[in-house]
Symmetry: C2
Subunit: 348 residues, 2 copies
């Protein structure tokens, strides 16, 4: 695909920067051969890597020696990090010098800075961290993954519209189904805001395929293409699912290693098992979007390696190519939030 | 273990009643050989089963033909279900005719009825659904699993004390560690009530080993013996973990069946894998406790088979044998809730 717009990259963010960042930029050319890059960070460290990965003719390096550490509080990062690689990268997007940016750095700082620098899209109340995770039969879009601890019905309705637009644009699904995460009807009733959001979403006709409430087990079952929830629940659900997969995998692995017969059996079965599990490789799903911002900002995992970072760049480029923010704006303008916003404790 | 107290059983609750209930009662004698039973339900259906499973000399049958359906709303169940098997079973516990009761029936109805009939223990603000789930290295006690959608700091602190008492009494852990479920510190700050509960728990010294905040992935990692959360998050987390395990298991199974070599390999490895996964058999973990009630009421899974139901009876008998409710009362009296309770929407 031809896309020769420049992508700004934080070459100081994450455990494996700058190597994973520059190498990842190289790998991303597989998906978008004409991408250009602006690297922000330590020029002396970046330049040889850019040379090694043959990116000179498509790269610019902006030197800075200010990095936002992973422990930095968002408020401090904003106040003291004006010359940081993360901030300069966001400024480039705000000024139109870059079309999108990607960082594996401190999530809280990145979110707070991105909100301050890029602002939200017209009509958006709150941006949401949006991730794509592999479910049984297809990828599922999950939001909010942690930007907003408390969510009013209005936020949730907007998340549904944003998730819908994202699934259409990035995953190429014509009519994505959207579910609202709740607990079993037979056991209890759900938060008031959740019930209100449910009613509001039921009222949106035409463009949105609202499925209704879904439960925790529906997320990975792939019952709907999009699952909407508040940032607290989304964060816990995602981390619990990761923990469950790790536990299951670890248990089976240990069992196999404990017996000679099992080891031999595994030698025969492993090709098929590896192939089946390939789809769940977290590197293929790296790149969470701060959806709702007036600009494309992608959060890559802090431990991302080159292959993983390349995927985050791919997400960034796809967002630009598909004009996702414009689509969200159009979608939101069609469904202005009419219910009064209830007071909710601010987050981040 | 000798325990010849009578346990009341709902022989009309769940998909497999009465067969799974009576057969389960037989199996439970493996753990407590001297248990006695009071069955509530259709005598014509129960009597032959009691005969078949040789339980005549230790059983009484109370006939009723009123069952609470799984779709019944809790409020309707309370109003119209006064002669139901579920209600009569709870009445028996309240009157002291039975030491504990177990039902695989409608969760919402059971919880509402149990609260009405048994009342809460002195000082308890809200009962919590408490389950034991298998984590990497040990079982973990998780509460609340869905009784209370919204939780004040007070509720959470009481859940921590109840979970602690439960882990000591039922799991036999001398000094259980207790974690409070939250999202990554570096990303955001958590609910105000959560932060307040954290402070209150930090202030409890001596008997409680409060670990601090834990995240979703810590639940199945077994970072702490007890994980405390609100009923909404707990319900979503548990169901998400179940969904993740099912997805992983299904993917591996399908991969093995897709190739002849993999099938042969599995024949060799399957003994070791099955042995390793045995610990995660949900039937071994059936039986959620409505903790905080003035009486022992155990909720068994709606789809429980005989083996599964036997485990729920085992949990009930252990609760009685270990005097768990008295221990909770003592524990709570030592740590009276001092912070003012904030207004929270009622649930159930």
């Amino acid at each position: 695909m031809t896309l020769n717009l420049p992508i700004a990259l934080d070459a100081m963010g994450g455990d494996k920067a700058p190597e994973a960042v520059v190498h990842g930029a190289r790998i991303a050319l597989k998906y978008f051969p004409d991408l250009r890059y602006i690297f922000y960070g330590d020029e002396a460290a970046i330049a040889p890597l850019v040379h090694r990965h043959k990116l000179e003719d498509r790269s610019v390096i902006y030197h800075t020696d200010v990095a936002i550490s992973s422990q930095e509080r968002p408020s401090v990062a904003i106040r003291k990090g004006k010359a940081s690689s993360m901030r300069l990268m966001l400024d480039a997007v705000a000024k139109g010098e870059a079309s999108a940016c990607v960082s594996s750095g401190n999530t809280g700082a990145f979110m707070a800075m991105a909100k301050l620098v890029l602002k939200t899209l017209p009509g958006i109340l709150r941006p949401a961290i949006t991730a794509t995770i592999p479910a049984r039969t297809r990828p599922v879009v999950l939001l909010d993954m942690g930007a907003n601890i408390d969510c009013t019905a209005d936020y949730l309705v907007q998340f549904a519209l944003m998730g819908d637009a994202y699934a259409k644009a990035v995953l190429g699904i014509d009519t994505p189904t959207v579910g609202l995460l709740n607990v079993g009807e037979e056991e209890m009733k759900g938060h008031d805001e959740l019930k209100l959001a449910h009613q509001m979403l039921r009222g949106i006709t035409g463009s949105l395929a609202y499925h209704g409430f879904v439960e925790g087990n529906d997320i990975l079952e792939g019952t709907t293409d999009v699952v909407v929830t508040d940032g607290f629940t989304g964060n816990v659900a995602l981390k619990t699912a990761e923990g469950a997969s790790r536990l299951f995998y670890g248990t089976v692995k240990q069992a196999i290693e404990s017996s000679v017969w099992a080891k031999m059996g595994y030698l025969l079965a492993r090709g098929a098992i590896k192939m089946a599990l390939r789809r769940f490789d977290p590197r293929k799903h790296n790149g969470a979007i701060l959806l709702g911002l007036n600009g494309v900002a992608i959060k890559s995992h802090g431990g991302a390696d080159a292959k993983s970072f390349a995927n985050a760049i791919k997400v960034a480029a796809t967002m630009v190519q598909q004009n996702i923010n414009q689509r969200i704006t159009v979608e939101l303008a069609r469904h202005p939030i009419s219910a009064p916003a209830l007071p909710v404790a601010a987050s981040v």
